[in-house]
């Protein structure tokens, strides 16, 4: 059914169609609309039997999900930003225990300075936690990935994070195709846990494991994620046969034929990148796009194959490995058969800084011309940075950086690019 709706509402409807049994939520922008919508559905009895629990923190949200999942219930929660960090210990724990929880991360920057807008710092900080991480390009894909996520999680007995850009997707009204309950039921079988807390068959879960077995437990987590690299494309095919559209999979490629320059990115910025690439193609530039849908497990082969013909790669990412450069670009460089010198990192859109076609044209043209630096910060205000550095040279007590910058800039609320 086609519907004009908000991204968060679409995701809530998708989760509802997956017949969740325990939903726990602690509010944080920009995740709130998702759990509000689910809370209303539970209150109205539309999801019965389903429990909706308002917890006291994100740490509790993930902990309640752990208990529910271990007791055999299909468990869901959603968070963002500081919330993801606050639950980090339980995030690792859910993966270590092999519990198939599904969580939406409405991607948002991490403070300080506090910032509610979109980038990928939150999800990428948890890239090695053992969860599968899927990134949605648009609201239709966000909706579809949740349905795939429950199936993936429960088949592998591993938790899955569905990442969607905060505000840009969560709060955007778009047309989406909502599947029917029959379609989702045909795709997603009831949850059959591999381990469950059952008085009729008591097991201990979460025992102390020493050096004699810890490596093997960790290896199996890795092996299962690598196994997912085969399951994900197969299930995306099955998804197409039931739902009639392409969604999910490991990667999306766009105009890669004969591309000498390939731009790699995650999430909603792929739309702007594709528009820019279309315009450059019209002018004869051989440029294409590789979108990463599945960030964990990292699709090594798919990325290597997609970049096989590329003479240079531009990784545009909304994250920063402070003191190094790119996070995504390091993963890409490891999968690129050419020289890693040819993999350029463009850090863009941190804390919600708009990524415009104008700026993308400039940076992609520099890449094509061979003049792009190894690491570039898109649209960085160098004058402001210089002023801070000069102040720090002149004054010992130079004051708080963020507040000084705001004072230097004056009122610029409308500045987007």
């Amino acid at each position: 059914m086609l519907k004009q709706t908000e991204g968060s509402a679409a995701v809530a409807e998708a989760v509802a169609l997956c017949r969740p049994e325990v939903i726990c939520a602690y509010p944080i922008s920009p995740q709130t609309h998702i759990v509000e919508a689910l809370g209303r559905m539970v209150a109205a009895g539309q999801l019965a039997p389903c429990e909706f629990i308002n917890v006291e923190s994100e740490f509790a949200a993930m902990s309640v999900a752990i208990g529910a999942s271990a007791a055999g219930a299909r468990a869901y929660t959603a968070t963002a930003s500081q919330g993801l960090l606050f639950m980090a210990e339980a995030v690792y724990n859910a993966a270590g225990l092999g519990l198939p929880i599904v969580m939406t991360v409405a991607n948002r920057a991490i403070g300080a300075p506090i910032n509610i807008w979109n980038d990928h710092t939150d999800a990428l900080s948890q890239r090695d936690c053992g969860w599968l991480q899927l990134f949605a390009e648009d609201n239709q894909e966000a909706l579809d990935l949740h349905i795939q996520a429950f199936r993936l999680a429960e088949e592998l007995s591993l938790p899955v994070m569905v990442c969607m850009d905060g505000f840009i997707l969560t709060h955007a009204y778009e047309r989406v195709d909502l599947p029917t309950q029959a379609q989702v039921d045909a795709y997603l079988p009831p949850y059959e846990p591999r381990q469950v807390l059952d008085p009729a068959d008591p097991v201990s879960i979460g025992a102390m494991v020493g050096p004699e077995a810890f490596m093997e437990v960790r290896y199996l987590a890795h092996a299962k994620q690598r196994q997912a690299l085969e399951l994900i494309p197969a299930w995306a095919d099955e998804f197409r046969s039931i739902f009639g559209r392409d969604s999910g999979g490991l990667t999306h490629t766009y105009r890669l034929e004969d591309a000498e320059t390939v731009v790699v990115a995650l999430g909603s910025v792929l739309g702007t990148i594709k528009d820019t690439v279309d315009e450059m193609r019209e002018r004869g530039t051989r440029i294409g796009v590789l979108g990463i849908t599945c960030f964990r497990p990292w699709p090594t082969e798919a990325v290597r194959n997609a970049l096989a013909g590329a003479r240079r790669v531009v990784v545009l990412e909304k994250s920063l490995a402070v003191g190094l450069g790119g996070i995504v670009s390091n993963n890409v460089a490891a999968s690129y058969s050419g020289s890693s010198d040819l993999v350029h990192t463009v850090i863009a859109g941190l804390g919600g800084r708009a990524i415009t076609r104008k700026s993308l044209h400039k940076v992609f043209s520099e890449a094509v011309a061979g003049t792009l630096e190894a690491v570039t910060f898109l649209d960085l205000d160098h004058a402001v940075v210089e002023r801070v550095l000069a102040r720090e040279r002149e004054q010992r007590r130079s004051g708080p950086i963020a507040e000084n910058i705001l004072r230097d800039l004056g009122v610029v609320a409308a500045k987007i690019g």
Binding site: V55, I66, G67, A70, A71, A73, S204, I205, A207, A213
Partner: protein, 335 residues
């Protein structure tokens, strides 16, 4: 089963004999068919109060729930000594997730059971005092205020014993731990600090709160059974002496627990829906010195010259408890 005071005490110890009682009034531990939920073979220290408390409490909970019980366990001694991979002492479905989230994991299990229509399955969450009064306190308070259907049991040995005896918010004043060393004029753990979690639990107005010690088996079992008669959040705080951390003989665990109660330092009470409904009276008032002296963690109070000021201060705390909870008033019979 209604509680009936039993008056056949073994001379000097107040230990209750079972042999003169009818079957239905005997303790769960005296029953050959008890579940041994925390089975023998675990790695607890000799004389461990926590191992004893957990076995008493969980066996009683198993009996009360007709063996339909699931447990969530915080990180700590109990978790470590009961499940050295690949062995486990637990004869019940049991999960350990993290140090600070046992109450929330319990909430999740209870929610799952409700969704599955398993209203017969009950949930216990348990941890030591560190996992309860400190790092797990947020999740515990959340579970209380939502009135989630979980019985939380805190085994209080007054410190972080698993990590090598450090101070927790349940460490009593003047106790020596490795982070409250009595150096110079310092008495050890400071006075005027610490958290009275049973009182805080009562303030949440949850259906049932009780304290108990491992010295009074029948009282402890009765409270677990009583707790299982309620739905919603329940809390039992059990004093479990730790021979290692307290520095007393491993044969003296029960004696230490009894002295903690008989001095008034550890009030044994119960409360329903925010109101104290029962108090276990002191049978023979004991000066705090009798409780402090056998414990190495208080040895610095009894050097030459002794820290009379500190001992007096501790006595004042005991006397305040006695007044506050009327621990010495005439023993009233409970219905």
């Amino acid at each position: 089963m209604t509680y009936q005071p039993i008056r056949f005490y073994q001379t000097g110890t107040f230990t209750v004999g079972n042999r003169l009682l009818p079957d239905e009034q005997r303790s769960v531990q005296a029953n050959m068919r008890r579940t041994n939920s925390l089975n023998s073979g675990h790695r607890a220290c000799q004389g461990c109060g926590e191992a004893l408390g957990a076995r008493y409490a969980i066996d009683a909970a198993m009996e009360a729930t007709h063996k339909q019980l699931v447990a969530a366990n915080a990180t700590g001694c109990l978790e470590v000594f009961s499940t050295p991979y690949p062995e486990t002492s637990w004869q019940i479905p049991w999960i350990h997730s993290l140090f600070g989230n046992a109450a929330a994991v319990g909430t999740g299990i209870a929610a799952a059971m409700r969704v599955k229509g398993r209203h017969d399955v009950r949930v216990v969450a348990q941890g030591g005092d560190g996992g309860t009064t400190d790092i797990g306190f947020g999740c515990l308070s959340g579970m209380f205020e939502r009135n989630d259907d979980v019985l939380y049991i805190c085994y209080d040995n007054g410190g972080y014993m698993n990590t090598g005896i450090q101070r927790s918010s349940a460490t009593p004043p003047a106790a020596r731990t490795n982070t409250t060393m009595p150096i110079g004029d310092s008495p050890g753990a400071a006075f005027g600090q610490g958290k009275n979690v049973p009182a805080i639990a009562i303030a949440h107005e949850i259906p049932y709160v009780a304290t108990a010690t491992v010295a009074e088996l029948r009282d402890l079992e009765t409270k677990v059974r009583r707790a299982m008669e309620f739905r919603g959040a329940r809390y039992i705080h059990i004093l479990v002496p730790c021979p290692l951390g307290w520095g007393h003989g491993s044969a003296d665990t029960i004696r230490m627990a009894r002295l903690a109660k008989e001095t008034g330092l550890f009030p044994v009470i119960e409360a329903e829906h925010g109101t104290v409904t029962g108090v276990s009276k002191i049978k023979r008032k004991v000066p705090v010195e009798e409780y402090l002296r056998p414990q190495q963690r208080f040895a610095h109070l009894f050097r030459d010259p002794p820290r009379r000021d500190v001992i007096d201060h501790i006595q004042q705390l005991a006397d305040r408890n006695i007044l506050r909870y009327r621990l010495l008033d005439n023993v009233e019979r409970r219905a």
